[in-house]
Amino acid sequence: MLNPLPRRTDGATGCAMADPDYQALVFPYVRSPDQDAPAPVRHPAVVVGAGPVGLAAAVDLARHGVPVLLLDEDERLSAGSRAICFAKRTLEIFDRLGCGDRMVAKGVGWKTGKVFFRDAPVYAFDLLPETGHERPAFINLQQYYVEGYLLDRARELANLEIRWRNRVIGIAPDADGVTLTVTTAEGDYRLRADWVIAADGARSTLRALLGLESRGRVFRDRFLIADVRMSAPFPAERWFWFDPPFHPGQSVLLHRQPDDVWRVDFQLGWDADPVEERKPERVIPRIRALLGEGVDFALLWVSVYTFACLRIERFRHGRVLFAGDAAHGVSPFGARGANSGIQDAENLAWKLALVLRGKAPEHLLDSYDAERVPAADENILNSTRSTDFITPKSEVSRTFRDAVLRLARDCPFARRLVNSGRLSVPATLRDSPLNTPDEEPFAGAMVPGAPATDAPVRAGGRPSWFLRHVGDTFSLVHFLGAAEAPPAALRGLAAEAAVPLRALAVALPGADPPAPGDPAVIEDAEGLLAARFDACPGTTYLLRPDQHVCARWRRLDPPRVRAALARATGHA
């Protein structure tokens, strides 16, 4: 283990109960034996960039048994809250990685929002109107907590090494691997990587070194983010104003974060001076105008940003795989940046682990490209549409926008047109080459390619959640009839499979609590699992290690299961 303990700069002593001040932690550079090796030392997987995406990728890979080296050019976690909205699907991924509980315990859960036009509310929305899910639609949590919790998780994994202040300055891919040149305070050294995950952010060094260009739309608009600490009476909701009296002609977005911190996002327009607008004497009056006189607040962090909706053409370049902002960029409206990056990481990790273990051919990694490029396009499309509504680019565009907002007060149809950000939902990988098309009719959302939805279950007689029982390996989920025992073929398929496959039987509601055994049996406590998966006795789903559906049938048919598993691992 070479992960050095962080040095605290605030003089406080560590306390097991409270979170450290993650923004203040400094992670020292430590010389690696690799720097003194006569020849570049080989690593199976090198992840570049210890942001949320790189950390998630590294933790996921390490949990799959891959020795991981994570390089970061810096010595700190995120400065400022930055990405704050983490979606349900991301929390479910964090659960699988083993740090979801901390995120949710600390984060501010929310699912409702309000939209205002000028001085009046237009409508309210609920992003998760149904119950029976472990995780909320969203939590708001400062990026430094997300990174801090992921880092704490990473440090528990013996096969995950992090090197701070190790900046990649050269990359030379060849047929067998990639040679990286890394610069440190003590000079340069070289590494050999079988595979490289480039998670080095919007200004990706690796992207530039490989001469790749992100293409898309750059928006001529500027936004001001201000984090303030205050005791405010607002509920934990997303509030969005179009053209409010306190900030005429522009939009404003308000979000609640933990620790009594509030995020205010002011649209400024293209002509705003990004340097001037950062100054407290400019920012404080804007916040005062929103809050009114007499509300005490402290300004914690200010940033002025612009954005673009763009991506590189392909996310796999031989042995270099791009993830997160290094691969694609979106506007912040909809919380689709960090959330989609975490999904990239998850999509990549299990595939790379199978390839490294010789359980899948290299071209399984082409499916990373085939699945996450359309997912990025979906995010870019949604984000671009939101941006065009929020910041109309022409007079007629603004006329229509305002007409929608006026109609939305009384007309339900117009509320569906109001677009203050279509909030992140995970992509359904509908056209994935890993999917086995349905041969029997199914209703509902759990189509091949969909991320499995959650439902309350009972396991070993205790309340639990479905998603806690699937993932990391392939899962063969078989719905039982009344008083039916799990068929022998279920366990047989799991035992013979070339890749890790977990058999899981689902008993009807009210079935006697099954004894723990093999295969595991969970009880569909409220019948919601069968309802959400359109399942009846005999229905069988094959889920991938990332919990996405890849095949389903109305009965358990071993040859078809084997064929689907082969297809999902790149063997067909």
Partner: protein
């Protein structure tokens, strides 16, 4: 599949046209533009069929972009 109907579909075309002009009585050009936008949105929702709406939009655009 519904297509854009270019034949007369109004029982009383003159009354419709009169009502359309009347809708804009005493409005400033800005107000008229806003009212037109609202009218288009209401009618689009009534039509519902995106293919028909796209055909209508293409037809409307062509009246000002082609000679």
């Amino acid at each position: 599949m519904a297509t854009l109907n270019l034949e007369s579909n109004l029982a009383d075309p003159d009354a419709f046209y009169e009502a359309l002009i009347e809708m804009h009585r005493d409005l400033t050009p800005e107000q008229s533009a806003a009212a037109n936008a609202a009218l288009i949105l209401l009618l689009a929702n009534q039509v519902g069929d995106l293919a028909v709406l796209r055909a209508a939009m293409a037809r409307a655009r062509a009246t000002v972009t082609t000679d």
